[in-house]
């Protein structure tokens, strides 16, 4: 209608199957129903989403909550606020080649791990090391761009890589590897770093000036996420519609991976999709503050707002692979 509010929305990365909910919502007019005109742009990293929203270039985006914690510590009045926590589980993981002889995390000592600078996996490694009683000095870190991690791992330049499992798993697939058979995965969640990760964040400005739009945005995304959980093919249709360059087959698997490994969890089943548990968040903030050596620990309320979530009964997500 005439009163449509335009929202500039940035993704966490280039078009991926795991973003299907946003394209689905757009294609099925969910945003329109809420009186929103959402413009979706591709992103340059789930951490950069925070910068983009903070600077005012974007009103909302899909990005990493840990980057919000980091910024909220310094500039609580400027940092964006997470309003819908889609990825309930952390994708942070260390992947190693089985032939490298790493069988437990203790074996990291004396080996080289490849990290992409600034990614939470790389940044939180010291916490991982401390929490698990490893000797940090014995682990060598080599920096490289994210898309070089898997090739260098395969080539044997590094013994393990600090990655997002949802990215790395499919990078290995695309590199004609079998990520389950030939590689070992050490998920941070399993080693005491029970963090939250990506979700929908909005700018403080939008929050203050147009809370109705925020609520509408969350409602639409929620509806789409639940719909795509039932029908991934429809989700992929919307995604290809947005960007015909993607490898639809792989992206569908990525989409399913996101539901299976990152969204659906016991906690989600308990509190519904999009919400968090404050005590878990407090712990997560503690980990981030430790890992990033932040001066101040923000409160969960500074980072996450459940004010705009639809009622609990509208947030029951049932995933069925198809």
């Amino acid at each position: 209608g005439a009163q449509e509010t335009t929202i500039k929305f940035t993704l966490g990365w280039k078009t991926q199957g795991s973003d299907a909910a946003f394209f689905y919502a757009k294609d099925h007019g969910y945003f329109k129903e809420e009186g929103l005109n959402v413009v979706i742009d591709q992103g340059e990293g789930s951490g950069a989403t925070v910068t983009r929203v903070m600077s005012g270039a974007y009103d909302a985006g899909f990005g990493d909550v840990n980057a919000i914690i980091q910024n909220a510590s310094l500039k609580p009045q400027e940092a964006p606020v997470m309003v819908y926590m889609l990825w309930n589980q952390p994708p942070f993981a260390i992947v190693t080649k089985k032939t490298s002889g790493i069988n437990s995390i203790k074996d990291f000592e004396g080996h080289t791990l490849g990290g992409a600078q600034g990614t939470p996996t790389t940044r939180l490694l010291p916490v991982f090391v401390r929490k698990n009683g490893l000797e940090g000095e014995k682990i060598k870190i080599s920096n490289m761009a994210p898309n070089l991690q898997e090739p260098m791992l395969i080539k044997g330049d590094i013994d393990g890589a600090l990655v997002f499992n949802i990215t790395s798993y499919f990078n290995l697939v695309l590199n004609r590897q079998d990520p389950d058979k030939d590689f070992k995965w050490f998920s941070f969640g399993d080693y005491g770093l029970d963090l939250y990760s990506n979700g929908v964040m909005v700018s403080r400005k939008l929050l203050a000036s147009n809370p109705k739009a925020v609520a509408g945005l969350v409602r639409a995304v929620n509806k789409a996420a639940i719909a795509v959980a039932k029908d991934q093919n429809a989700g992929m249709k919307a995604t290809v519609n947005y960007d015909n360059l993607i490898n639809a087959e792989v992206e569908k698997r990525r989409l399913q991976f996101s539901y299976e490994k990152l969204i659906v969890s016991p906690e989600m089943k308990e509190i519904g999709v999009g919400d968090i548990k404050d005590d878990r968040m407090t712990r997560a903030i503690g980990i981030v503050v430790e890992g990033y050596q932040l001066a101040r620990a923000p409160t969960p309320a500074e980072v996450f707002s459940r004010e705009f979530l639809p009622p609990r009964k509208e947030r029951d997500l049932v995933y069925t692979a198809n």
């Binding site: 591709q42 340059e44 960007d243 993607i246």
Partner: protein, 258 residues
């Protein structure tokens, strides 16, 4: 001469083909994985296959590049003229410009994006900001090294500074202006694509980024080939103009050919 010319062109074409054949053979012999360096034949196949999808992206990149390039040439000529003529401008601008161009534009693109949003505007600005410096340098040097004897011809007539610039400085500088265009146009592509990889939903840069995050290396290289092809096409156009405009400066080659 025309026969000699033809033979020469044939030679050059053969050498260029040879380059690609060597590449193909190199990959085949070393068993190079196409995830690292695909064979030219694979790249061309991918290119032809994906051309319909690539087409709008090619147009987008070409348009932003050309816009940035044209603005860059304008800015470059203007700044070059100022620097070439005024000693103060030389001392002031050169350090600033060298400093600015020592900065990787990747670091600047996000700033453009934050100011102007993602898409065409930052791509144009990046193309501009990366391509104008070679032009500045060559125009400025050309003007500063113009033989005073040539300028005296006009000075004795009481010509204004602008008359001298227009009638002596700039024509004299043309060969080096065209030389710098060759550099500038290829860097303009680099700039536009760079910006597209950072922030845009369209353009070759975006395609390459998507392809690269999908490890579709042949498609990445197809994108690179498109860029190289566009660069060469524009170079060819400038070469034609250059032949018309700067023939006087390369008369040596004519004499040899005679």
């Amino acid at each position: 001469m025309s026969l000699l010319d033809l033979r020469q062109k044939a030679w050059s074409a053969a050498l260029i083909v040879l380059f690609f054949v060597a590449w193909e053979l190199f990959c085949l012999m070393t068993g190079m994985s196409d995830l690292i360096l695909p064979r030219p034949s694979q790249i061309f196949t991918t290119l032809i296959e994906k051309l319909p999808i690539l087409w709008p992206h090619i147009l987008q990149t070409l348009a932003t590049t050309m816009l940035g390039f044209v603005l860059g040439v304008g800015l470059g000529v203007a700044l070059g003229a100022v620097i070439g003529v005024s000693k103060t401008a030389y001392d002031t601008c050169y350090p600033l410009l060298v400093g600015f161009s020592s900065i990787p534009k990747v670091a600047v693109v996000p700033i453009f994006v934050l100011w102007f949003g993602s898409g065409t505007v930052p791509a144009v600005l990046t193309a501009l900001s990366i391509c104008f410096f070679p032009i500045v340098v060559n125009i400025a040097t050309g003007l500063a090294t113009t033989e005073p004897e040539l300028e005296d011809v006009l000075k004795a007539l009481g010509a204004s500074k602008f008359d001298i610039l227009w009638n002596v400085g700039l024509p004299r500088t043309m060969p080096f202006f065209f030389a710098s265009l060759k550099v500038a146009v290829s860097y303009a592509f680099v700039g536009a694509v760079l910006s597209e990889t950072v922030a845009s939903n369209r353009g070759i840069g975006n395609v390459m980024m998507t392809a690269s995050s999908n490890f579709n290396v042949p498609l990445v290289f197809a994108g690179l080939f498109v860029l190289a092809g566009l660069g060469v096409a524009l170079y060819a156009i400038f070469s034609l103009i250059e032949g018309q405009v700067t023939g006087w400066a390369t008369r040596k080659n004519d004499l040899i050919a005679t």
